[in-house]
Amino acid sequence: MMLEIKDLKIGFSSESGITPALHGVSLSLERGETLAIVGESGSGKSVTALAITRLLPTPPAVYQGGEILFEGRDLLKVSDAELRRVRGGKIAYIFQEPSTSLNPVYTIRSQIAEMIELHRPDVPKSTADIDAEIIHWLDAVGINEPARRLHDYPHQLSGGMQQRVMIAMALSARPDLLIADEPTTALDVTIQAQILNKLRDLQQELGMAVLLITHNFAIIPGLAKNVAVMYRGKVVEHGNTEQILRDPQHPYTKALIACIPRLGDKRRRLQTIESIN
């Protein structure tokens, strides 16, 4: 098991005490596989994702218990320096809102170069080599004429392009695990499908594991082998995607699946997503 979360409990402190957000979340993910976390808004998906590399700001977050075993080590216990090697280098992130997740005052190049300089000792430190590496990744995520985009600022790109840059940045460190927290929610529906497609292709090419967070069950089949259903700070169902689709146990899962429009549904949006599969 590459990643194993055991009974993770997290709360948020406020004036009136600590409000729990995760009530003992357990998850596991094999090397090279994709696990989807699905659940309604506020169910604790993002908190779980951020907690894995302790990205939740403390305060207000309080880690109240549990373990996050990554390659056998508990990330809740490793030193800050060790954690920084894991962040980006072994576990990289893509977030929901690309327009605010990129720093507005630095160029695309500068933001990706940081990742490469930090986590890719195999890439020589010269400008030309780093540029070549960045261009390679921008090309890989489907950005046209990547060399001309290097010195653009984030605001000069569309939302879809920004998210591609985020993906290129995350992948450029060649992480073992990519955590994508609703990577397409903020994007146009047509672009959503392209991005998810790209992610799946790149995953297979690079052999990395993906933790895909979504509130939309419809996109999961074909993308993720396993799925974890979260509901009010708990994982209520965890297992093979097809099996859960066929035979959901928890009432909340049943409700979620009932909401998936069937093939041939008139709404275009979902046809597009179905067409991925």
Binding site: K9, S16, P20, H23, Q64
Partner: protein, 299 residues
Amino acid sequence: MSTLAITPGALGAVTQETPGARILRRFWGNPIARISVVIILFFALTAGGTALLGALGHHWPYDPNLTNLDQKLLPPSLQHWLGTDNLGRDVLSRMLNGATISLTVGLIAVAVSLGIGVIVGAIAGYFGGLTDQILMRSVDALICFPTFFLILTAVAILGPSLINIVVIIGLVSWTGTARLVRGEFLTIRETEFVKSARVLGQKDWKIIFRHILPNASAPIFVTAVLGIPDAILTEAGLSFLGFGVQPPQATWGNIIADSKTYLLEAWWLILFPGFAIFIASLAFYLAGDALREASNSRS
């Protein structure tokens, strides 16, 4: 597991609390705020007590203006806790009178600047348009002036009396309040309850004073508290340069100014009054800052 830290009682208490009470509770929960309030109360009580005694014709421990050349430049002792100055006057007595002056200057100057700032800011923010442009560009221009020098110039021209000093300090330092109030007004006037008051045909000034100002009161109050030490420090600086409240009336600034030539022999003449200015200002600044933190919904 500590999942249920919130008890129903605690929740009830939180929901019933008014915004003012919430700010006060958070303010009082801050130890720095409590210490500052104690220091401010101490200064206020000594200043008030000295003024009251003076009005009744009494002095404690001595008459601040009683000169005694046999006892000049005495270091602190049991008779003169804080020593005597070059004319043999008791420094503690003079400092107590200085406290009265400093606090009076702080309070009245802030009242003046608050009055102007609130009115200008309210008019600019409420009416907007050209009125707003003219008023706010004037504010932009006024803040370019070297504040202390502008005050010094005006005091020198008009003459350094207590009333002139507080009015001039007030006249020069209202810009921050005006900007703040204008900003609050721009936000608040778009809210539903102000709009509905307008639809109901209420008079402009009534809307301003009944509906908008109370909602902006927390940040205005914070500015006011922070304005007090500004005024105290300004008056002390003026006194030091000889343009503060005039001798023989003692002020913290002029005790130091009068002792310029004896500084090396009589360290107590510069140390104690300066320390008083410093501590009083610090207490107000810290209290104001704690109040701002307490009224900040973000933290």
